[in-house]
């Protein structure tokens, strides 16, 4: 590469949200990685953040490029990328720009080849790095510690699934990578399902119910006690919340009814539409800790962390349990970190120390880590340039990218 610094575009390409921006920016833009259709606006589709222009988000229809966490719908992905790279968002000058893009663990070969092809042949970026977002996170976490830890474990709990990846000296321990097929999408769908059965048909309201989840769900630290509380009547039921649904005319966004305005009989004069949330508030996120609650025969996150660590050489275990990093959108659920810690503490042998680290911004942590990596010495060596691709083709990419 030539001496002067080329702009670096960092794209953490999530199945629900793309985190994207230049390495010179403080934070990435969060762009919905999908095309959406509204009942109210029959003339247009909304690509990525164009959804901000949509006034009526009820019954929003989603077309997503990812299926089970892997990129399969390239038509849709291209629409979103075209939009992101256009002057409407980032105005990328491809020939000058280095692209860093994330992909899931065990990505399929043909998806990887398509990625290389699109970035080099279609967009014609100057150079490319493809990586797993967790590897960026592990690198950043280690560099930020005063004394560089030998090992760490990155938990990435996102939309499609949750990955747990042990690292030693910056290298992922492939035998230890674990995946739970539980993520934010499943939580939202489960919430929609139980509310639709118990109260009000909301199966079509993914957008709204996702907000309900983010606004009122939490991870319980005393599950059975909270279950008892959630049965109580009146003010004693400290779990109970009434959620006011948006109607997209008077009420633009849903919100939790303030406690002092709460009517425990459930009747409100304004006639606004209410969802009453009691055990739903914590039973839904519980699926991350007990997938078998809804019939998915998999370990929960803390148990899976132990399973991942135990797949690695024993001398690494103490270092791993002391450096557990929680990333991804589900880590934002209130009480998540505390619960991961307390469950882990109960599972891990007493003589080993357990430390769980939750970054301030679990969603953008990997993106920020990508930026940090682009500023380290030797970054150039992690890239494949377009000239190299033209000369050596797909091979040089599979040799160079550690994915």
């Amino acid at each position: 590469m030539d001496g002067k610094m080329a702009p670096v575009l960092v794209l953490d390409n999530g199945a629900y949200t793309a985190k994207v921006g230049f390495s010179t920016e403080k934070e990435p833009r969060l762009i919905p990685n999908c095309v959406m259709k509204s009942k109210a606006e029959r003339r247009k589709t909304f690509v990525g953040n164009q959804i901000d222009e949509c006034k009526d988000l009820s019954g929003l229809f989603y077309v997503l490029p990812f299926q089970k966490g892997y990129l399969v719908n390239w038509d849709v992905q291209r629409q979103v990328w075209d939009h992101i790279f256009s002057k409407d968002v980032l105005n990328v000058n491809f020939a000058d720009t280095v692209a860093m893009v994330t992909e899931p663990f065990f990505n399929f070969t043909s998806i990887q080849e398509s990625m290389n092809e699109i970035f080099f042949e279609e967009y014609q970026f100057k150079a490319l790095q493809r990586a797993n977002g967790s590897t960026w996170s592990a690198h950043r976490y280690s560099s930020a510690q005063q004394k560089k830890p030998l090992c760490c474990v990155v938990v990435d709990t996102g939309y499609s699934f949750t990955h747990i990846t042990p690292y030693c000296r910056g290298k992922k321990m492939k035998d230890g990578i674990r995946r739970l097929n539980v993520g934010g999408k499943m939580l939202t769908n489960h919430l929609k399902e139980i509310i639709s059965y118990r109260q009000l048909h909301v199966l079509d309201e993914t957008y709204v119910m996702n907000q309900v989840k983010e606004d009122v769900c939490y991870v319980s630290s005393q599950f059975y006690r909270d279950m008892e509380t959630a049965k109580l009547r009146g003010k004693d039921n400290t779990v109970l919340r009434d959620y006011v649904l948006p109607d997209f005319s008077q009420i633009k966004r849903g919100y939790v009814k303030p406690l002092e305005e709460m009517n425990y009989a459930g009747k409100y004069k304004g006639g606004e539409q209410i969802i009453r949330m009691a055990n739903e508030r914590f039973a839904v996120p519980e699926v991350l800790f007990h997938p078998s609650d809804i019939g998915i025969q998999e370990m929960g996150i803390p148990e899976a962390i132990v399973h991942a660590v135990e797949a690695c050489p024993e001398e690494m275990h103490p270092h791993m349990y002391m450096n557990i990093i929680l990333t991804g959108g589900n880590a934002l659920l209130s009480g998540f970190k505390e619960r991961v810690f307390s469950d882990l503490r109960a599972l891990v042998p007493q003589q080993l120390e357990v430390k769980v680290h939750q970054p301030d911004h679990p969603i953008t942590y990997a993106w920020e880590a990508g930026v940090a990596l682009s500023n380290t010495a030797g970054f150039d060596k992690m890239l494949v340039t377009r000239q190299q691709y033209d000369e050596y083709g797909q091979n040089i990419c599979s040799e160079k990218f550690d994915v």
Partner: protein
């Protein structure tokens, strides 16, 4: 053994067989139900495309850079068409099967999946979501009280087609 006795025996074991078969089918049905419920939790949408019966003005999906500044060579165009057919049209299942076909040792997508939990399953009422102690004899769903059992029988019990 008299032929009468043999007849009776045959009838009895036939009945037993039938009863057994009924129970087995029930279990299969229950499993199917559960699998379908889990599949539902992976859906992107539960309603039809609101634009499904509209003729879209901009019907064409993004062209693979017909407007690219650099002159696209004939070779490139060919590759694109090929890929579009071969690669850009595969769903998850196809990709997964392909990946397994290629012989690869070591950890992969399938081995990374966590096994079932070693801890006992917790039981919740299918109606209200609170911990439950009882199982519906008809369909195997859980319930916590007479009231919830009533609701369950009036709504979902056996009404879910498979």
């Amino acid at each position: 053994m008299s032929s009468k006795m043999a007849d009776k025996k045959a009838r009895e074991s036939g009945r037993l067989r039938d009863a057994d078969k009924r129970r087995v089918i029930d279990n299969i049905t229950r499993l199917k139900r559960q699998r379908r419920q889990i599949e539902n939790l992976e859906r992107d949408n539960f309603h039809d495309d609101p634009h499904a019966n509209l003729v879209l003005v901009n019907k064409k999906l993004p062209q693979f850079s017909d407007t690219n500044d650099s002159p696209a060579t004939k070779k490139k165009k060919k590759t694109r068409g090929d890929h579009f057919k071969q690669r850009f049209r595969k769903n998850f299942q196809t990709l997964l099967e392909e990946e397994q076909l290629s012989i690869r040792g070591g950890p992969n997508y399938l081995t990374a999946q966590v096994p079932p939990s070693e801890y006992p399953e917790r039981k919740f009422c299918a109606v209200c979501g609170f911990p439950s102690n009882y199982t519906c004899v008809t369909c195997g769903a859980r319930y916590c009280c007479v009231r919830c059992l009533g609701t369950h029988q009036d709504t979902r019990c056996l009404k879910w087609t498979v």
